[in-house]
């Protein structure tokens, strides 16, 4: 079982990202589960969402405390949330930033593989959301797929093209671009 935790802010699309990843994995024959942190969501407030993926039936209905993958969609959250809390040894971190992975490794103080992609710029480039508040979920997912190999990029693109509520084409382009541009361990 692979357990994934998304950290974002209300309006960035963290919950939708957790669902898109689940759908892509389901379409590849896995059992899946996607859920938000059970809070009272508000635009701009920190939001946590989760995805579980397994080739067997997913029966665990507890929250995810020891994730295999952590995704940070908003860098300002690093000051407010312990994003690597419970991260498994060897678990991967993917962050939305133009900075180099090595630098983030130091900032986070972890030995885990760290990947970065400037998802905000990619989202703005494809006119997803506004410049002040870009919707980065489809972009960051492209980076997640490249960094983790959890699903095939084609499976993710199919879901984005089908389920993105608006600008399906632009969202798919953002996914592909982030997939191509993500930096980290083996992708420099």
């Amino acid at each position: 079982m692979i357990e994934i935790r998304f950290h974002g802010r209300g309006g960035q699309g963290a919950v939708t990202a957790s669902e898109f990843l689940a759908r892509a994995a389901f379409n590849e024959g896995n059992d899946v589960q996607a859920f938000p942190m059970y809070g009272v969501e508000r635009r701009g407030a920190p939001v946590t969402a989760f995805t579980r993926i397994d080739s067997k039936a997913v029966r665990n209905k507890a929250q995810i405390h020891e994730p295999d993958v952590v995704i940070v969609m908003d860098m300002a959250l690093l000051d407010a949330v312990d994003v690597t809390a419970g991260l498994k040894p060897g678990g991967k971190v993917i962050l939305n930033t133009g900075k180099a992975p090595e630098e983030l490794k130091k900032t986070l103080g972890v030995d885990n593989p760290v990947y970065t992609v400037d998802a905000s710029s990619i989202a703005v480039q494809h006119r997803l959301g506004s410049k002040v508040a870009p919707i980065v979920n489809t972009a960051i997912l492209g980076a997640v797929v490249k960094a983790t190999g959890l699903v095939k990029i084609e499976s993710l693109l199919d879901v984005v093209r089908e389920d993105a509520p608006v600008k399906k084409k632009e969202n798919a382009k953002a996914t592909q671009q982030a997939y191509d541009e993500v930096r980290g361990e083996n992708h420099d």
Binding site: E19, F26, V32, Q33, A34, F35, R59, N60, K61, Q63
Partner: protein, 397 residues
Amino acid sequence: MSEMKIVSGNFAAAYGAKLSRVEVVAAYPITPQTEVVEKIAQLVSEGEMDAEYVMVESEHSAMAACIAASNTGARAYTASSAHGLALMHELLIWASGARLPVVMTNINRAMGPPWSVWADHHDTLAQKGTGQMQFFCENNQEVLDSVIMAYKIGEDAEIMLPSMVVEDAFILSHTKEPVEIYDQELVDEFLPSYDPEYKLDVERPFGFGSLGMPDWYMDFRYKIAEAFEKAPDKIEKVNKEFSEIFGNDNGGLIEEYKTDGVDVLIVTMGSISSTSKDVIDELRAEGHNIGLARLRTFRPFPVEKFRKITKGVNVVGVMDRSYTFGHGGDAAREIKDALYGHRDLILKDYIVGLGGRDMTPKILKNIMLDAISLQDKGLDNEIEWVDLRINQERWRR
């Protein structure tokens, strides 16, 4: 053609109502139930669902509208949660007294104060005496399935009772997982349109809701009691028929998970059951003779079934996600009642997960290990509150 969709427990409930071809929906929004009625409103407005959607000013009115609709022979549905359900209390009793098979989905949520929107079974179990049948669901598929089955059971001429199909707040209501949305024709075959023997009909007038003088009232109550006595068999029969047609067996009264010849039997309700099954597998692999009974139907309470499945069992560990003040956990108390004079065993009540406190596999395993340990050391406490701030160290280690 049936279709697999990845949907929340709330959407599963809405699709269950759609597939049941409900004719009248009256509801008032409340967290975390809101998406159920939003989805139904959307399906109705888009013409995908042919139902009358009645906007009401409260939950009390929602059930009143459902009662009136059901009285005319329409299939009626509503959904609520916690404080909304509490406000509905009077009408829950009315629906069963009037023998109207209204089905509602309740999203199990804690009662305030302190305010909480998270999972807890007290809201539903505080209504256990209202004459509603109560079905506790473990996953989103079961939510959809149970709405359909509840109409089939409740509308049976020998039963004629309302039902509550309940699911845990957020853990099911807002969690998305694969759910099979069945072929409508197949559901139509399983659940024909509602055609009660007595209804409001100007061509064939009857009086409803009139005065019951002391020389009659008691006999009406006895008829309801009789229906509840017949319900367990009907529930098992409908569950079997449903599983044969749709391929999903939801367990009827009690779902037995690896219970054959066990020494220790764990009893759970709702979403905790799903996580617990993983833990049961782990403990069995470690050599423990332990199994799980998922109490699915709380009303009617499956008295006979509990006597049957506890034969040869040494310890019963019951997890209650509710607590009735001055009495204890609801399930444990009722199981004791069922076993009185029939079984000589140790029964311990674990109070767990109130107000949405997360029930991790680790905590569940510690509870089960505690139950196993009672075989040698005997009963230590009849009731134990698990994972309180004052004892978290013990249960999370």
